[in-house]
Amino acid sequence: MNNLIEVKHIKKNYGKKEAVKGISFSVEENEILGLLGPNGSGKTTTIGMLLGLLKPTSGKIFINNLKLEENRIEILEMINFISPYIELPKKLTVRQNLCVYAKLYKVKDIKDRIEYLSEKLRIGELLDSVTGELSSGQKNRVSLAKALINEPRVLLLDEPTASLDPEVGDFVRTFLEEYKKEKKISILLASHNMNEVTRLCKSVLMMKDGEIIDQGKPEDLITKHGRANLEEVFLKLSRGKSEFN
């Protein structure tokens, strides 16, 4: 199976502080990898480096076998990102926002692509609404449409269902599962929702203090640590072994 994301020994230092300490991992085609860890563990820094927003202090990142440092534009054309901490311009309509990003990603059949995503994500009736006036659930689906506008081969998701009600959250998770299966894309999912991670991810990386402290399939980690669910495994690992042992 082809690795769409390949990270080799990446480090990120801010002055003397080591935010990410030489981690390595890969994500196969048609795989969702969960990235777990407490706040400040280095998840966002890792995602920032994968998006080319942050320059690693050392190490290499390959997306679809292309080295990020040397192929920034080609790689950005095939990846996309969604996070509750970034937004689309609030004053533009949904259609205008999608048109703008379709142009930036040089999408060929813009109208068809917007229609396809509108139908899949049920945002057809929102297309002419002002983005800033949407509910958080609607905004989330619109952000997802923007993140899929370029038919990415690699999707980076940072808390994709944070602040969503259970129904919309479930809709988004189901959509991601189906879309991944249909398009054979790779997804890196950073989330604090352990049920979401257990449901979606084939395997997970547990990060703490800039390091990967454990990794494996969710069910294997639960068995290995003798816990009832992934949340307990997360708590054990993030608080330190002594608390649970």
Partner: protein, 263 residues
């Protein structure tokens, strides 16, 4: 460079302006107020001093030129700040868009924003004050071009600061023009400045532009030398601003500013 991407980013700002009547009004309102005010001041000085006897429109013409510079520079900064305020900054920088494409798009959009504000104001000067900026003749184009390049240069420098230091640099964005205005000799000849300030003024393109505007209107002569020096200094500062922008972009990637940019 991709024209599609440049157009895409232009569209983002075009939609923003055309969707909001207050934004269009804001673009037209300040230049009109400014020029009306300076029109009356210009008329007053023209009738009460000997310096302006031969050219009633000198102050007003310089006010229009300065306003164009001001609008271009602030307009460029506004476009950049809009991305920060709307928390769209990360979306923009993870799109496959080159720095050159971002700058080109902002340069074009800033010009259109400035013209939206300035053209109605210029049209007002003739019926209201009997003054036409077109009296500067063909050299008007070169003076506007020089001011446009310098305005864009200041915009790029401030945007580089925003990239490097984050939104806290915003206050500088608003004050740059006010800092340079005294050295630009917009409304007075350079001899008015103390000698040390004159030395600073001579390394700015502004003084050559405004001296030339006065020269044309008052003395009815043209000094190609002034236009030439304005372009030389502009070329130097513009090159520095581009280098600094790229430097700031790389520094922001090292420091993590791009990922945390927001209000």
């Amino acid at each position: 460079m991709s024209l599609t991407r440049i157009y895409g980013l232009f569209l983002r700002h075009f939609y923003l302006i055309t969707r909001s009547f207050p934004r269009i009004l804001d673009l037209v309102y300040w230049p009109t107020i400014q020029i009306t005010l300076w029109g009356f001041i210009s008329n007053f000085f023209a009738t009460h001093t000997t310096y302006y006897n031969n050219a009633v429109g000198v102050i007003l013409t310089c006010a229009i030129l300065y306003d164009f510079l001001f609008r271009t520079s602030i307009g460029f900064n506004m476009l950049f700040l809009e991305e920060i305020w709307s928390r769209n900054f990360t979306n923009l920088f993870i799109a496959p868009i080159r720095i050159g494409e971002i700058l080109t798009s902002l340069v074009i959009t800033a010009l259109i924003r400035s013209l939206i504000g300035l053209v109605p104001a210029i049209l007002l000067t003739s019926p209201l004050f009997g003054i036409s900026i077109l009296d500067l003749g063909i050299f008007l184009f070169f003076l506007f071009l020089s001011l446009y390049i310098f305005g864009i240069t200041l915009g790029i420098l401030v945007s580089a600061g925003l990239l490097r230091f984050g939104p806290s640099f915003e206050n500088i964005a608003w004050s740059t023009m006010f800092l340079l205005a005294p050295f630009g000799c917009i409304y007075y000849p350079i001899e008015t400045l103390p000698e040390i300030f004159q030395k600073i003024a001579y390394v700015l393109p502004l003084v050559y532009i405004f001296e030339e505007a006065r020269n044309i209107l008052i003395n009815q002569t043209v000094s190609i030398e002034n236009v030439y020096y304005a372009f030389i200094w502009n070329a130097l500062y513009f090159s520095i601003s581009i280098i600094l922008f790229y430097y700031s972009f790389n520094a922001a990637k090292n420091k993590g500013t791009l990922i945390n940019m927001g209000e």
